[in-house]
């Protein structure tokens, strides 16, 4: 018995929603990155599902790109947070509002 593609897509959607919620609500910077990774993985999953559905390899190729971009972005972002932590001893993003009016 094969798993219907729809389920994969629903899973991807659920993961994406959970990731978005995490991005928008969490205070901890690392957690936000975690959520972003979750979103990206959800996207990956949906690409693979579509690739299977439409019987094209393009989707899987895109996944490689997304993985590379995610890795790069995580690296840069974590480096930024380390720098911020060194200065402000916190990674609570609510505390980073120097650009207030």
């Amino acid at each position: 018995m094969t798993v219907p593609v729809t389920w994969y897509l629903l899973l991807a959607a659920a993961l994406f929603a959970i990731g978005t919620a995490g991005v928008l609500t969490r205070r901890n910077g690392i957690t936000i990155f975690l959520s972003i990774e979750l979103m990206l993985n959800a996207v990956n999953l949906s690409f693979v599902a579509y690739s299977r559905l439409l019987d094209q390899l393009t989707g899987q190729l895109v996944v490689f790109f997304v993985l590379a971009v995610a890795a790069a972005e995580a690296a840069v972002g974590l480096a930024l947070f380390i720098a911020i932590y060194r200065h402000r001893r916190t990674i609570d993003i609510n505390r980073m509002n120097l650009m207030r009016w």
């Binding site: 991005v23 928008l24 609500t25 980073m96 509002n97 650009m99 207030r100 009016w101």
Partner: protein
């Protein structure tokens, strides 16, 4: 000579420029030569032109200098010599020249701070001559208007000549004159514009051509404000004339204008500029004949002004102010004449008045000069011993003004009153006669207070009393000859035993338009005319006699230290209320100030402070306030919080997707 007509206004203009620009550094003699030579030369040219013209009169002569073009408009800068402008030309150049000569003596030694104003005076006076000549010689409204405003300008400059006085009276008076004049000019300009828009030209001969049936008909068409074209234009021009010739309601500047040097009062405010209004009315008599209502208005205002001003002259204590009110009154006579249709009489009176009034003013100047600047007649008296020539000439002038028989004023005034009666305006005749009585009264009052009785001034003044130098007395003499003899140019028929001796009338007759259907000539029965003449003569003699009694040698016998002020004192004692009203000139100036000047000023301040300052600035401030407010609200979105920015980002993406795909 006639081809050089255009030089006549230009020579004084040139001499004005030279005197004004080069005068400050030049020696006095040079200034005198140029400044008096200019008008002198103009006089010679004028006389020559008149001599030539006399042969071809009454054909008008036009000489064009150049054309003032503006696209489709072409107005020639041209000069016209016809019987009317010939008379004016003679008056202006002749009287003007002698006043210039007089001024050499009068303005020769001014006290500080005006020691160096000699050339300035002559520059202005020459400029005035140029403008006045432009006014009367112009063959169209535009050239005349240049002169019209030009004389207004020179009047302003000359009235305010003593501008450094601490009391600021001269510049105030000058300003008043200019502005009141401008009100008249506004009406004049509207009249000009109307004429141009209807006829396409401004030339006198073209517009006021009685033989041109089309024009005459056009004048009869209804135009504006319920008036015909003729009435409308006549009204506009008349209002302009009231400004320039100091009639009700725009006369208020003339008495104040006495703040200027006396030769100015003589030339500008007696002989020439103030007569410009009369000139214009007579020049345009065609429309006044066609506009009966306006003519009646002219006559009434003339008569009213004559009486009104004469009453004020009864109580004035400033030598020149009496003469100023007298001028206003005499100008009223001229307008009365013009209003009833006796145009030649108006100009005749203008002619004689120029002589005797200028004479009176110059005589006054002689007195003021002798007294070192005193102008209050209460402080004068008994001057005939010290200033005999001045006294004699002043006497002649006063007699002419009063209209005593054999003097020039008698003939001209009589012609006016006869004309009024002949046209059926008995009421106006009455006013004129009453005014004649008052005129005689105040002129002999003035004579008496100044020259008769005992001297009421200070001891120093008495020591300095001296007759004026020849340069001043010669013009007095010449003008006295005119004041005596000018009337004989217009001897009425009744006095000439049948001969046609009214040369003046015949000379000017062609200028009066003869419209078919308008009977301008009215004849009086001989007996009526004798009666009228007798009546006015009687009134004049009566009016002269009253002060005569007070200043004769009779009274001092009763009161040894009688100084000659009994007349005024008596008046003030027996009729105090009347005296006060007259003394304060009916408070007209104050009324004008309260009713017109102050409210206008308040309106202007309201506009500035409220409309500009609060309403408009307020609107702008509201604008800036709203912009700032929007900014204030807008800035709350920049929380500095990354999460909020992410939220905006997210929302934006959703909206974008929605918009693109849905």
């Amino acid at each position: 000579m006639l081809d050089w007509l255009w030089l006549i206004p230009l020579i004084p203009l040139a001499s004005a420029a030279v005197t004004g620009l080069l005068g400050p550094r030049a020696p006095k003699a040079a200034v005198t030569t140029v400044a008096v030579g200019g008008p002198g030369l103009a006089l010679l040219l004028a006389l020559g032109s008149l001599w030539e013209y006399a042969a071809i009169a009454p054909e008008p002569v036009t000489r064009t200098l150049y054309a003032w073009t503006a696209g489709t408009i072409e107005i020639p800068v041209a000069f016209l010599l016809d019987p009317l402008s010939a008379v004016m030309l003679f008056v202006v150049t002749f009287v003007g020249f002698w006043i210039h000569v007089y001024s050499v003596g009068y303005m020769g030694h001014e006290p500080a701070p005006y020691e160096h104003s000699y050339q300035r005076f002559f520059a202005y006076l020459n400029l005035f001559m140029a403008a006045m000549l432009l006014l009367i010689l112009g063959n169209n409204f535009l050239v005349s208007f240049v002169g019209w405003e030009g004389v207004g300008l020179c009047s302003y400059l000359l009235i305010g000549f003593y501008f450094q006085n601490d009391d600021r009276v001269p510049p105030q008076a000058g300003r008043k004159a200019f502005i009141v004049n401008r009100i008249g000019d506004f009406a004049f300009l509207v009249g000009m514009l109307t004429l141009f828009s209807v006829f396409g030209t401004l030339e006198y001969l073209e517009i006021f051509d009685a033989h041109n049936a089309a024009h005459v008909a056009a004048f009869g068409e209804p135009y504006a404000l319920g008036l015909t074209l003729a009435s409308f234009v006549a009204l506009c021009l008349f209002i302009g004339a009231t400004g320039k010739s100091a009639q009700i309601p725009l006369y208020v500047w003339l008495p104040d204008a006495m703040a200027g040097p006396t030769p100015v009062s003589a030339l500008i405010h007696a002989a020439t500029m103030v007569t410009a209004g009369v000139y214009i009315v007579v020049r345009t008599n065609l429309i006044f004949q066609l506009a009966g209502g306006v003519s009646m208005l002219v006559a009434c205002i003339g008569a009213a002004t004559a009486l009104f001003a004469a009453t004020m002259a009864l109580t004035q204590t400033d030598l020149k102010k009496v003469l100023a009110y007298s001028t206003v009154s005499q100008l009223g006579y001229m307008f009365l004449a013009a209003g009833v249709g006796a145009y030649t009489a108006a100009i005749f009176h203008l002619f004689t008045h120029a002589f005797f009034k200028a004479l009176l003013f110059l005589g006054a100047g002689s007195v003021i000069h002798a007294l070192g600047g005193e102008q209050d007649i209460r402080k004068m008296g008994g001057l005939r011993k010290y200033l005999p020539v001045t006294w004699v000439t002043f006497w002649i002038g006063s007699a002419a003004l009063a209209g005593l028989p054999l003097f020039s004023g008698f003939f001209s005034k009589d012609e006016i009153l006869a004309g009024a009666w002949a046209h059926g305006h008995w009421f106006l005749w009455g006013i004129g006669a009453l005014t004649a009585l008052l005129t005689a009264f105040y002129s002999f009052r003035l004579l008496g207070l100044t020259f008769h009785g005992g001297f009421r001034g200070t001891k120093q003044e008495r020591e300095h009393l001296h007759e004026s130098p020849a340069v001043m007395t010669v013009p007095l003499g010449i003008l006295a000859v005119g004041a005596l003899g000018a009337g004989y140019l217009g001897i009425p028929k009744v006095l000439s035993f049948g001969a046609e001796l009214n040369r003046f009338h015949h000379w000017l007759e062609p200028v009066v338009a003869h419209l078919s259907g308008h009977e301008a000539v009215a004849h009086l029965a001989v007996r009526t005319e004798w009666l009228l003449m007798g009546a006015t003569t009687f009134l004049a003699l009566l009016g002269a006699a009253i002060p005569g009694i007070f200043f004769s040698h009779a009274l001092p016998r009763f009161q040894p230290d009688y100084r000659g002020t009994a007349l005024d004192d008596g008046f003030a004692y027996f009729l105090p209320k009347v005296y006060t009203v007259l003394y304060f000139k009916y408070w007209v100036d104050e009324v004008y100030d309260k009713l017109i000047v102050r409210p206008l000023r308040r309106l202007a301040e309201f506009f500035w402070k409220f409309v500009d300052g609060i309403v408009i600035e307020g609107a702008i401030r509201v604008g800036t306030f709203l912009t700032e407010l929007a900014g204030d609200f807008g800035r709350f979105s920049t929380t500095g919080n990354v999460r909020d920015y992410l939220l905006y980002l997210f929302l934006g993406i959703i909206i974008l997707f929605w918009w693109v795909f849905v």
